[in-house]
Symmetry: C2
Subunit: 292 residues, 2 copies
């Protein structure tokens, strides 16, 4: 089942789904794989810790990994091909080519993690170019990444449908992230971020539409020295919004010790009504809840 990108492309096809991951899989990744397996004739997942998207070498060095577990989980979710490109296959020499997305990729994560969004856009472009899938599945936890990838696909004309899938949370609300295992004793503090966002979503449900008030709900829950940003944005462009009208997303990032986490709620208000998408909450601790 494990293969290179070149071999993966040569497979008999039909509708091909792609789930790009950096491994250390959790229920968020598995939901993407299951959805692709249900919707596509062939599901490929990639496992590649992309150095281009790490602005901090220490963050890259400690990024968690469990190769054997990943393969077993992916297979159980219906992944047909697990593409595990070696560094020499992905980038035989450091790439000179960069894919940048003006505006959408420059704000927020682009500001706080210089080069991160270009690294994401470049490696996703490479996977789409090399594997030629018909659908590509991304979680909504990385809301800005989803906006960037959607725009890359549109601007560069890849014949692929980008499918955004629900964010998955722990029982206690923490958004699933492979980095959560690094939180250790800071885990309870880190819950402030999702608690703040849930509070903002509650206020939205009660009729609050002002960005200032929604952002303040996050800021009131997260210590100033931990919060990097809490911002209401227009969902497709990630430009700041003053009111939660149309499709917006309240995105936030915070740092707890060496671990940086991001989270968001999608807020939609239009003529048909209003809804706050808080994602999906697991009924049990996640696969990676207690692991390190």
């Amino acid at each position: 089942m494990v293969t290179t990108t070149a071999e993966a492309r040569g497979q008999a096809r039909g509708v091909v789904g792609l789930v790009p991951t950096m491994g250390f899989l959790h229920e968020g990744h598995l939901s993407l794989m299951e959805r692709s397996a249900a919707e596509c004739d062939l599901t490929m997942a990639t496992l590649y810790v992309n150095p281009l998207q790490f602005d901090d070498p220490a963050d890259l060095a400690r990024y968690p990994a469990d190769h054997d577990r990943d393969l077993a989980l992916a297979e159980a979710c219906g992944v047909d091909l697990m593409v595990v490109p070696g560094p020499e296959e992905m980038f035989p020499s450091p790439p000179l080519t960069g894919v940048t997305v003006a505006g959408i990729g420059e704000r927020l994560e682009g500001e706080f993690r210089p080069g991160h969004m270009t690294g994401v856009a470049t490696v996703v472009t490479r996977l789409l170019a090399a594997l030629q899938p018909d659908r590509a599945y991304f979680g909504r936890k990385d809301a800005q990444q989803l906006a960037v990838v959607t725009r890359v696909v549109r601007d560069l004309g890849f014949p692929v449908e980008v499918v955004g899938c629900p964010l998955v949370r722990e029982v206690d609300g923490l958004a699933l992230s492979s980095r959560n295992v690094l939180l250790g004793r800071r885990r309870s503090k880190a819950l402030a971020l999702s608690r703040g966002l849930m509070g903002a979503a509650d206020r939205f449900d009660q009729g609050e539409r002002r960005a200032t008030a929604l952002e303040a709900a996050v800021r009131s829950a997260v210590p100033d020295d931990a919060l990097e940003y809490a911002r209401l944005c227009e969902a497709s462009t990630m430009t700041g919004a003053t009111m939660a009208e149309g499709e917006t997303v309240l995105v936030a990032a915070a740092r707890f010790g060496p671990v940086r986490i991001i989270d968001n709620v999608c807020l939609v208000a239009d003529r048909r009504g209003a809804s706050a998408d808080r994602g999906v909450r697991l009924g049990h601790p996640s696969l990676i809840y207690g692991s390190e």
Copy 2:
């Protein structure tokens, strides 16, 4: 035969060759089409005047066009599908996504035509992404473009072979370019550029390897106020070379009135010997020689 990118991708395939052009076809383009038709099962050519690669709106406005002649010529050369995307198909809205190539794309043309190489890399990436060819044919006249495209394909992992094809010259030595028809009475002056490069190639054949001497041979032929640059470069990186050793290319650009032309000779010197590639010279005036 004329079609959109989406329709073109849906065709029965085999080995697919792509010849990207901006139209107003001359024998240089036709040689690419004929080669693709000879080597591939299906040949697609694109005709799209890419606004992203024009740094000067006046240059874009006066770029020559002859749609009907182009279609007839392409068909006669064995092109199976002429892809003529409208502006709304290529870029329904101005693209935010840009493909840049550090180093290779920043020098020379990148310096003298700001944004040009990013415009080229972005539109070529879009054509490769949308049309998924197996081979893509480019002329060596645009030596830096060929280096940039080759690097984009390598870095982004497109499963396509980039094929560089010989530069084609008029009987009098002028490198074929759709823009030549705009030279008018300046045509005889413009011959200085190819004359200078042929002189440099002669000196190379006589054993000269120093960049200074080879570049001086061009400068001695072209008036200072016309010449933009004459530089010996390593062929794959386009970095300046001090000696014509290995695979180098002597590239030059000059401006005659409002018309800017580029030209080059490829100089190869290794253990097997030395050769100056001056391109191919037509035995008769080109299709576009006298047209305006």
